[in-house]
C-alpha cells in the first residue's frame, strides 16, 4: 500500500498581484497540485498559468470547475466579489480559501458561513500573518509567560500609496478599493487587526476609531483605532505617511514584545533592573545583545534558506489542506472570521459617522459633539447614537 499523501487539486480565481504569492507558495506544498487558474480577463489567467506552470487557464468559472474538477479553490479577487464567488464555489462542492477581507460586511460573512454549514464544505480565510515565523516565535514567548498575561496589543501598518497598488487606488476614483464600505482600510487593515484580536477574545470590543485624508488625498488615508475588551485593550495605527512597516507590540505586566514582521526580529520591552544612570548603560547593552541574538537567528535562517516573505501563507495553506484531508477543523476558526469582520464593520461605521458628524457640525456652525442635535440630517445622528449605544452595551 502506498504511503504517498493524496493530492488535493487546487485552483485559483483572480490572477492579480496577490495571486502570484498564492501560486508560488502552493507549488511548494507536497500534497497540493495546481490544476487551473481563472480570471475574468483571459490574458491574466494565461500569464499566471504560463509563469507558474499551471495546466489550465480559464475566463469562465463554470468551465474551470467542470473541466479541472478542483478540490479547493483560492479566491483572490477584489473584496466585494468574495461573498458571491465563495458561496457559488461552496455550493458547487469545493472547499474555499478566501483572501482577506472575508467579505465587505458582517451580514455577508454570516450568510457565507451559513453556506459553509449547509454544504458541509470548509472555508479558510487569509489571516496568514498569524502563522508567520516571527509571530509564532512571539506566541511561544507569550505562552512561556515572558510578559505575563497579555493586557494590550498595538499594531502599526505603514502603507505608503507610492507603491504600485497604492498608485492605482489613488489614481482611479472608481477603483474598487475606493468603493468598499471601509475604503482603503477594508482591503488592508485585516492584518494589523487580527494580530490584536488574537489576544482580545471579546466578541464585540468597545471601538473608538477615526479616519481622515492626509495631505492632498481625496479619500481617507489615515486611521487610528482604539479597542477595549474585558481584559485586553488594543490600538491600531494605519498610515500612508510613514515608511512601509508591519509592527506589533504585545504588552503584559512583566514587559512587552516588539515584533517586526519585515525585519523578522523580536525585541523585549522591559524596565531596567539597575537604578538611575546605571540603567542607561544596561538598556543599550541589552538592546545590543538582543540585536546580536536576532542577527544570529536570521543568519541561521538565511543559511537554511528559511527567510521567505510569504512563509506564513504557506504554513496556513499546509494546515488548511491537512485539515481537509484529515476532516479536522480549519486553522482559522469560523468564529474568529465573524469576530474580525464585526469589529471592522464597527470601526468603519464609527469612522463614517464621526466624519459625518464633523461635517454636519461644520455646516451648522457648531462643534462636532456627538450629542449635537442641530444637525440637519437626523438619520446620520441616529446612526451615531446607534454606534455609541452598541459600544456602551458591551462595556
Amino acid at each position: 500500500m502506498s504511503s504517498r499523501t493524496p493530492n488535493l487539486r487546487i485552483a485559483l480565481i483572480g490572477c492579480g498581484q496577490i495571486a502570484d504569492a498564492h501560486l508560488q507558495e502552493i507549488r511548494k506544498i507536497d500534497c497540493a497540485e495546481l490544476v487551473a487558474v481563472c480570471d475574468v480577463h483571459q490574458d491574466l489567467a494565461d500569464q499566471a498559468a504560463a509563469r507558474f506552470g499551471v495546466p489550465r487557464a480559464d475566463s469562465d468559472l463554470s468551465a474551470m470547475l467542470a473541466e479541472a474538477k478542483p478540490d479547493v479553490v483560492h479566491v483572490t479577487t477584489p473584496a466585494h466579489t468574495h461573498c458571491e464567488l465563495a458561496t457559488r464555489l461552496l455550493v458547487s462542492g469545493v472547499h474555499v480559501y478566501v483572501e482577506k477581507p472575508l467579505t465587505v460586511d458582517f451580514s455577508e460573512a454570516e450568510s457565507l458561513l451559513e453556506t459553509v454549514t449547509r454544504t458541509g464544505k470548509s472555508l479558510c480565510l487569509g489571516h496568514d500573518q498569524l502563522f508567520d515565523p516571527i509571530w509564532l516565535r512571539c506566541r511561544e514567548l507569550v505562552d512561556a509567560g515572558v510578559i505575563g498575561e497579555v493586557s494590550h496589543v498595538e499594531s502599526v501598518l505603514g502603507y505608503p500609496l507610492s507603491g504600485q497598488f497604492g498608485r492605482q487606488v489613488t489614481g482611479n476614483p472608481d477603483h474598487w478599493v475606493r468603493r468598499l464600505p471601509g475604503g482603503l482600510f477594508q482591503n488592508t487593515i485585516s492584518h494589523p487587526l487580527y494580530r490584536i484580536t488574537e489576544y482580545m477574545q471579546d466578541t464585540q470590543p468597545r471601538v473608538d476609531a477615526h479616519w481622515y485624508a492626509a495631505g492632498t488625498a481625496t479619500f481617507p488615508t489615515e486611521m487610528v483605532a482604539h479597542l477595549r475588551g474585558k481584559t485586553v485593550t488594543g490600538s491600531l495605527f494605519f498610515s500612508t505617511r510613514i515608511q512601509p512597516q508591519r509592527i506589533s507590540r504585545v504588552y503584559g505586566p512583566k514587559g512587552g514584545l516588539e515584533v517586526d514582521f519585515d525585519a523578522q526580529t523580536i525585541r523585549v520591552i522591559r524596565q531596567s533592573r539597575l537604578p538611575g544612570a546605571f540603567g542607561k548603560i544596561e538598556m543599550p547593552w541589552r538592546h545590543w545583545r538582543e540585536g546580536a541574538s536576532n542577527l544570529r537567528h536570521n543568519l541561521w535562517r538565511f543559511l537554511k534558506s528559511d527567510i521567505h516573505y510569504f512563509a506564513g501563507m504557506r504554513t496556513l495553506f499546509e494546515l488548511y489542506y491537512r485539515s481537509i484531508l484529515d476532516g479536522s477543523s480549519p486553522p482559522i476558526a469560523y468564529d474568529e472570521m465573524l469576530r474580525v469582520t464585526r469589529v471592522m464593520d464597527t470601526m468603519f461605521r464609527h469612522c463614517r459617522v464621526r466624519t459625518g458628524a464633523k461635517r454636519l457640525a461644520a455646516l451648522s456652525g457648531a462643534s462636532p459633539r456627538l450629542s449635537d442635535r442641530k444637525a440637519n440630517s437626523q438619520s446620520e445622528v441616529d446612526d451615531l447614537d446607534e454606534v455609541i449605544s452598541e459600544t456602551e452595551q458591551v462595556s
Binding site: 492579480g16 498581484q17 508560488q24 490574458d43 491574466l44 500569464q47 504560463a50 509563469r51 482611479n172 538565511f302
Partner: protein, 342 residues
C-alpha cells in the same frame, strides 16, 4: 485630420502630441481622470493648444474610447504600464489594448499605431554579432523574461489578434530604450544598478537607444506615412554607443558613477549559479537573474533603423551626443532646437 493619442500626458506621448500639432493635425488626448494635464500643455505650448481636445476616461471604458474616437482617423496607442508586477502590467497594457482596438474597429478608424518595445525579440537564441532587424523572431518564451518585456510581447499578440478579427489596420513601432531629459541614460542594458553601484555586464554590447524626440517623430510618421499598414518598425538612433563607452561618457561629463565590471564570459555562469540558488532556496532571493534573461539583454548585437528611415521617411535628427547632453543635464528639449522637419 484628427487623431487620438492615449498616454498623451506621458514622457513620450506629450512630445508626440506636440509634433502632430506642428503638422496641423488635431489631437484628441485620452487621459486618465487622475492625470495631470499641465505638463502636456507646457510641452505643446499655448500656440498649438487650440487643436488639442483632452478627454478623461479609463482605457477599460470601451464606450468612452469609442466616443473619443469620433471624427478621428488614426489612434496612437502610447499608454502602457512601465513597472510593477506582471499582472499589473498586463492590466495596464494588454487588457486595455484589446479594449481600445475594439473601440477603434467599431469607429472604423483607418489605422492603429501600437507603441511596443524592441525588447520583444527573442534575442536569447541569436548569436553575438547578429543583426537584429524587423525580421528577427519574437521571443518564444516571453514569460521567462522580465514582467515588462512579457507584457509588451503579449500586448503585440493581443493587438495582432484584434486586428485579424476586426480588420483594423495595424502598425507596430518598437522603440529601443527611450532616453531624454529627466530619465538619465543608464539603463538595464548597461548592467544591474545595485543601490549606488552599477554592475556593468560585459561592455561591448551596443545600446539600442532612441532619444525621446527622435522616437516621437518616427511614431508620428507611423500614423501618417502612406502604405505602411501591417508593418513593423524598429526605432533606434544612429551612432549608438556601447555600454562601456556610455559609462566613459558619463564619467567624462562629471557624473559620479561607481561601477564594477563583469566580463561577458562570466555573465552566463553567474546567472546560472544565481538561478540555481534561487531554485534551491525556494525563492529566498528573487529569480531576477536567469540565464535566459541575461542571454536576452546583454548580448552584443547589431541594430538597424533602415526600414524606418526608408518607409517612414524618418531621420533621427538629434544626434546621440546631443541626446546624451540633454538627457544628462535634464534640459527639456525646446521642441524646436536643432530638430529639422521630416
Amino acid at each position: 485630420m484628427s487623431v487620438l493619442v492615449t498616454g498623451a500626458t506621458g514622457f513620450l506621448g506629450r512630445r508626440l502630441v506636440r509634433l502632430l500639432r506642428e503638422d496641423g493635425v488635431d489631437v484628441c488626448c485620452l487621459v486618465r481622470p487622475s492625470s495631470d494635464v499641465e505638463p502636456l500643455r507646457r510641452t505643446v505650448g499655448n500656440d498649438l493648444w487650440n487643436g488639442v481636445d483632452v478627454r478623461a476616461a479609463e482605457l477599460s471604458n470601451e464606450e468612452a474610447c469609442r466616443e473619443a474616437m469620433t471624427g478621428c482617423s488614426v489612434v496612437y496607442h502610447v499608454a502602457a504600464g512601465l513597472g510593477g508586477s506582471t499582472s499589473t502590467l498586463f492590466l495596464s497594457s494588454v487588457v486595455p489594448t484589446r479594449t481600445v482596438m475594439r473601440a477603434a474597429a467599431d469607429a472604423n478608424l483607418q489605422r492603429f499605431v501600437l507603441v511596443s518595445s524592441l525588447g520583444v525579440y527573442g534575442t536569447s537564441t541569436m548569436r553575438a554579432g547578429d543583426l537584429l532587424d524587423e525580421q528577427s523572431p519574437i521571443d518564444p518564451y516571453p514569460h521567462l523574461r522580465d514582467p515588462y518585456t512579457y507584457s509588451k510581447v503579449m500586448q503585440e499578440r493581443a493587438a495582432r489578434e484584434v486586428s485579424k478579427e476586426t480588420g483594423l489596420p495595424l502598425v507596430i513601432v518598437r522603440p529601443g530604450v527611450i532616453i531624454g531629459p529627466g530619465r538619465g541614460v543608464l539603463s538595464a542594458r548597461v548592467g544591474l544598478q545595485l543601490g549606488p553601484l552599477m554592475v556593468r555586464m560585459g561592455g561591448t554590447q551596443t545600446l539600442p537607444y532612441t532619444y525621446v524626440d527622435n522616437c516621437a517623430s518616427a511614431i508620428r510618421q507611423a500614423g501618417l506615412a502612406d502604405g505602411v499598414e501591417g508593418e513593423v518598425f524598429n526605432l533606434i538612433d544612429d551612432d549608438l554607443p556601447t555600454a562601456k563607452g556610455l559609462l566613459r561618457m558619463c564619467k567624462c561629463a562629471g557624473e559620479k558613477v561607481t561601477s564594477v565590471w563583469v566580463p561577458r564570459q562570466l555573465i552566463q555562469p553567474m546567472a546560472g549559479t544565481y538561478d540555481w540558488y534561487h531554485r534551491w532556496s525556494r525563492g529566498q532571493l528573487p529569480g531576477v537573474l536567469t540565464p535566459y534573461r541575461t542571454a536576452s539583454i546583454w548580448k552584443p548585437l547589431r541594430y538597424t533603423n533602415q526600414k524606418a528611415k526608408d518607409r517612414l521617411r524618418w531621420q533621427p535628427d538629434v544626434s546621440f551626443d546631443e541626446a546624451f547632453r540633454r538627457s544628462l543635464n535634464g534640459v527639456e528639449a525646446d521642441h524646436l532646437g536643432n530638430r529639422g522637419r521630416i
